[in-house]
């Protein structure tokens, strides 16, 4: 076969992969990003109002011309779904637009002439409603991305922090990373000794230990979370055992707090830590530790200087797997956690399914992705440095 033919054959082999990545990874990611920054409804469907708003100073009552332009624009929209997108966008910036627009649209459709909006509803006298329209005239916006990290633009266009108590995305994002990091650490502390135990055992014992890790992995996440819910509650197995043994006078608070979330998530994610470490461990020659011992190293020294550096690769990939998976957790914090354990995916879920605000959902997703990529970059740097040193 000629070289070119061979090259073509290779290309044909990777083509499915490239297509798969393109369709299921790159394209969705791109569309999420686009959703987060595109804001076309007002410029597309209220063109006259958008044009008229350029002449308005944004602080006094809007000129009559802009008001009548809005009435004309609204009359021109005959698709309810378009109107819905428009109203959702405006209501998200200024609550009240839902009922205001419903009233205005039916009045605009009823009559043909100019309409006295202020007479129709006193809210049209309020500048913030008009400013919400004027702010939305640019087909691209950074407001979702800013709002995702608790920032907004004030009336002059400068970026400011959203007042405390009105939005908590930053706190929730931070908490998401904190919980993921804690879970990663906990799985590492449990997973490493466990993997060593599995690797050092043989025969049916090894099978049993592996099954203990793998069986939960094949059980539904929801089932495992609900099981923890039952175990952790005040009258649950853990608390009743502790009090029966006389160890605790009153039930330990394990449910609806961070402790419960960490326990449950650690259990759920443990296989992702144990398996990579185990796969590295079984490849390490069994005689290295005895060799270190023969040279005078005690068990701890042999572990720290021989076994641990060789296992590091497994720990690192396990940590990465666990951390990334933990970032997106939703069901476990929702069921086991308290109000202060909500993670960012529940906020994203609210915007996506609860209020159909795809822009905000996309922006939060992008921020989470960007932060994760930064962390991944740091990890890459560290592990690269590690390999060269080794």
């Amino acid at each position: 076969m000629s070289a070119a033919g061979q090259r073509l054959g290779q290309l044909a082999l990777v083509l499915p992969l490239v297509l798969f990545l393109g369709v299921f990874f790159v394209w969705p990611l791109f569309s999420v990003l686009e959703q987060a920054v595109s804001d076309p409804v007002v410029s597309r469907h209220l063109p006259a109002t958008a044009a008229a708003s350029a002449a308005w100073d944004r602080t006094s009552a809007p000129p009559a011309e802009m008001q009548q332009a809005l009435v004309r624009d609204l009359r021109a929209i005959d698709d309810d779904q378009v109107l819905g997108d428009l109203v959702r966008r405006l209501n998200s910036a200024q609550p009240g637009f839902r009922t205001l627009m419903r009233k205005t649209v039916s009045a605009a459709r009823a009559g043909g002439g100019p309409l006295d909006l202020a007479e129709l509803d006193p809210r049209w006298r309020e500048v913030p409603f008009w400013r919400a329209i004027a702010d939305a005239t640019n087909p691209y916006t950074d407001r979702n991305l800013l709002a995702a990290v608790d920032l907004q633009r004030d009336t002059s266009g400068a970026v400011t922090i959203i007042p405390e108590g009105e939005s908590a995305n930053r706190a929730i994002l931070l908490r998401t990373f904190l919980v993921a990091a804690t879970v990663t650490l906990a799985t590492c502390l449990i997973g490493l000794p466990y993997a060593m135990l599995v690797a050092s055992s043989a025969g049916w014992r090894r099978q049993l230990l592996l099954a203990a890790v793998l069986l939960p992995l094949w059980t539904s996440l929801l089932v495992r979370t609900t099981a923890w819910y039952i175990l952790l509650q005040d009258q649950g197995l853990i608390n009743s055992t502790l009090s029966a043994l006389g160890l605790t006078a009153r039930p330990l608070p394990l449910l609806f707090n961070r402790t419960g979330v960490i326990i449950a998530m650690t259990h759920v994610l443990l296989p992702f830590m144990v398996l990579p470490i185990y796969s590295v461990l079984i490849a390490i020659p069994k005689n290295l530790v005895p060799a270190a011992a023969s040279l005078g190293a005690g068990p701890i020294r042999a572990f720290v200087h021989v076994l641990l550096p060789l296992t590091l690769r497994g720990i690192a990939s396990g940590a990465l797997l666990v951390f990334m998976a933990a970032l997106g957790y939703y069901i476990t914090p929702a069921l086991i956690g308290g109000p202060k354990d909500q993670m960012i995916s529940s906020v994203i879920a609210f915007y996506a399914t609860g209020s159909a605000n795809w822009g905000m959902a996309g922006a939060l997703g992008i921020v989470l992705l960007a932060a994760t990529l930064v962390l991944y970059g740091i990890y890459g740097r560290l592990s690269a440095a590690n390999t060269t040193r080794a």
Partner: protein
């Protein structure tokens, strides 16, 4: 060997794709979506199965957890996989304004006058009247709470409390606990001071609060003794009392009731069958069977009259239970849900 394997693989793949195209091309059966659990079990028995028998075709049923974004995504993608869906009042208002639902022809349902006024809309037909109320275990608390003020009083009634996670309902209940009469709640909540007042009242109870999100959770919390009282859906409370012999009680004053409606998604393949199905569920002789299984009020007036007397007392629509109860203000929530949810999340995170 390897060749025959390849051949057989290709054959299997070809067969698979043939099967997929065949099922894809054939018409989908009428798909009805409701809220799952014991409620949907009851609906299956009195609506889905009899209707399927009447038309001689299968009726598929699925469950969902609400969310206007779900419906919007389905309609916008075109050819939605669902036909008739039961939605909450705010989803009905949002979806109707956004053109996500087909319009209802009321003449085929016996006219608008046959229904309670709150169950009539351009896009939806009322399915049930349900209520969110205080629930407590009568076996543990003999002289139970009478109001939201009692719910907030952890001295008089020690123990934790549970509420549905979210701004909707929670803010109303907080204001009632702060002494606002039920019928003035939305007036107060419409002002920025009113919202502040509600959050301030919530601050008081925050250390003793746990939050639930799905309808079965509050019952579990009550049954396990994790909380002393909780908000819950009235039908579930009566349901568990009947099925498991519990003594859970509903506190009707200060409860908030709302209407769930049937809608047909815009562009649904089985639009006609879906409206026929809705008409079937709205017939008095069919609808009046529901309270035997689950204690929800009936939007069809004639059906309401036919409910056997022993089930009447548990319904949100019973006159005694309406006293001091408040209807959910849908307009307030479609305007303010997003802003208040953001603030509620920020308050939770504090």
């Amino acid at each position: 060997m390897s060749n025959s394997k390849t051949v057989s693989t290709i054959a299997v793949l070809g067969l698979l794709s043939a099967v997929i195209t065949a099922t894809g091309a054939s018409a989908r059966d009428l798909t009805v979506v409701s809220w799952g659990g014991t409620y949907q079990d009851a609906q299956r028995k009195i609506y889905f199965e009899p209707f399927s028998k009447a038309i001689g075709k299968p009726v598929l049923d699925e469950a969902w957890d609400g969310g206007i974004g779900v419906l919007q995504a389905k309609v916008k993608a075109g050819n939605p996989a669902w036909d008739a869906v039961q939605v909450e009042a705010d989803e009905l208002a949002l979806g109707c304004a956004d053109g996500l639902f087909e319009k209802v022809d009321w003449s085929k349902l016996g006219g608008k006058d046959a229904f309670l006024p709150s169950a009539v809309s351009d896009c939806g037909v009322g399915a049930i009247v349900w209520s969110t109320a205080i629930a407590y275990d009568g076996a543990k608390i003999a002289d139970g709470p009478k109001s939201w003020a009692d719910f907030w009083d952890v001295q008089k009634f020690p123990g934790k409390r549970a509420l549905r996670k979210g701004a909707k309902y929670t803010l109303e209940f907080a204001l009632m606990a702060d002494g606002v009469p039920a019928n003035k709640v939305y007036e107060v909540l419409a002002t920025p001071d009113g919202v502040d007042r509600a959050f301030k009242k919530l601050d008081e109870l925050k250390p003793n609060l746990v939050w639930w999100s799905s309808g079965a959770q509050p019952l579990q919390l009550l049954a396990s003794g994790e909380v002393a009282m909780t908000s819950a859906y009235n039908g579930r409370i009566t349901g568990i009392d009947r099925s498991e012999g519990k003594k859970f009680k509903v506190v009707w004053p200060g409860s908030i009731y709302a209407v769930d409606s049937w809608v047909v998604l815009k562009g649904a393949e089985n639009k006609q069958a879906a409206f026929d199905f809705i008409a079937f569920t709205s017939k008095p002789e069919n609808q009046s069977k529901l309270p035997e299984y689950i204690a929800y009020g009936l939007p069809n007036k004639e059906a309401g009259k036919r409910v056997p007397p022993q089930f009447l007392a548990d319904l949100p629509t019973a006159p005694a239970n309406m006293e001091g109860a408040q209807a959910l203000n849908v307009d307030f929530w479609i305007d303010n849900l997003e802003t208040l949810t953001k603030r509620f999340d920020a308050w939770l995170a504090k």
